[in-house]
Symmetry: C2
Subunit: 210 residues, 2 copies
């Protein structure tokens, strides 16, 4: 069961790739530039070079599922939000479906469920994530959508929560915890058509993403 | 059969409203500001003031179908493209469905079918239109999607074409012809789940949008 990781060179992507490699989980890291390759090769992680704004259909051959963690991020220009976070995700869904992949794991965002409830400057980004998630749900592909809260660089605790109610309002989650959660999802092949908010918390990942 | 026109104060919206009024077709023009009201009132067109970025659910009461011709346009900032062209359209689809409206008429764009084939600077806009169209198709609402070519301010000829093959490559259409085509769609209630490219051409509108 090989997982194509789209956005492998991102902050979450790299941590996930390293964890998957340690766990012996077969992955293929999609990266944009040859200059990004050494970091992965040093760790024995297979890479494939392709551009999410170009033709990347060939990189799906031989993969069983796809993990989409690419993102221009909420702080880049909204033109890239449209081209990467929205349309890159849409095309990845289409290509995954055309290739008959078994599952699509999407990294979304907690506020994507209701962009109007997000702080004003994040709303365009959340609108893009809302639409990408909706496209995936309607695609017919089995999916899991993970919706982390506000990302931090705190150390991974491997203890998480599923809602603001559970955390008492704390809305953050470390990228390390997101990476651990993604590894869990990559391995939990039976989990389909599910959506999870993810925050730093007190419970084991396997319990929250059950 | 009352049609809610979202984006009524736009260049196409105003022409459509004037044509519909002349034809005795019941419409309700959704506009953003009271200052936009006199133009409509002088012509005896009902208006309702609401913001596509705010709560506009109340304006659907008593309407039978909706025509979405709002657009920040390809030349405004892509943050507004995300909030208006994409998420505004998505919310309008949701509200129309919740209100049980009979049909959703969407003004899209010719290149929205394949954003990567569009000129680079238009791609973010086309990605937004692609996703909005996809959301409408998957919504379960009966729909018509109209995909005009590049808009001009030439006079309306009421003669159109349905493809670049038909026009020999000419990719333009006047806003006046788009407005006439929309009036035809507003009246042609039996037309559902159809998509039409619209260009200036040689054939009557009723023949091309049949």
């Amino acid at each position: 069961m090989t997982t194509l990781v789209i956005g492998a060179n991102g902050q979450i992507g790299r941590q996930l790739c390293a964890l998957a490699r340690e766990a012996g989980e077969p992955i293929r890291a999609m990266i944009r530039e040859p200059a990004q390759q050494p970091w992965f090769e040093e760790r024995g992680i297979e890479t494939v070079i392709a551009d999410l704004e170009g033709d990347f259909t060939h990189v799906f051959d031989g993969c069983d599922q796809v993990l989409f963690t690419a993102g221009s991020g909420p702080h880049t220009g909204p033109d890239k939000t449209l081209l990467i976070d929205l349309y890159g995700a849409i095309r990845a869904v289409d290509v995954a479906r055309e290739h008959g992949l078994s599952r699509f794991l999407m990294v979304s965002a907690m506020r994507a469920e209701d962009p109007q409830a997000a702080p004003e400057k994040l709303r365009p980004y959340m609108a893009a994530k809302f639409a990408a998630d909706a496209y995936l749900r309607a695609s017919g592909l089995p999916y899991v959508i993970l919706k982390p809260g506000r990302l931090t660089d705190e150390p991974a605790t491997e203890r998480v929560a599923a809602s603001l109610e559970e955390t008492g309002g704390t809305n953050t989650v470390s990228r390390g915890n997101v990476a651990h959660a993604l590894l869990h999802l990559v391995k939990a092949g039976g989990l389909v058509d599910r959506e999870f908010v993810l925050l730093d918390g007190q419970r084991p990942i396997a319990e929250v993403l059950a």
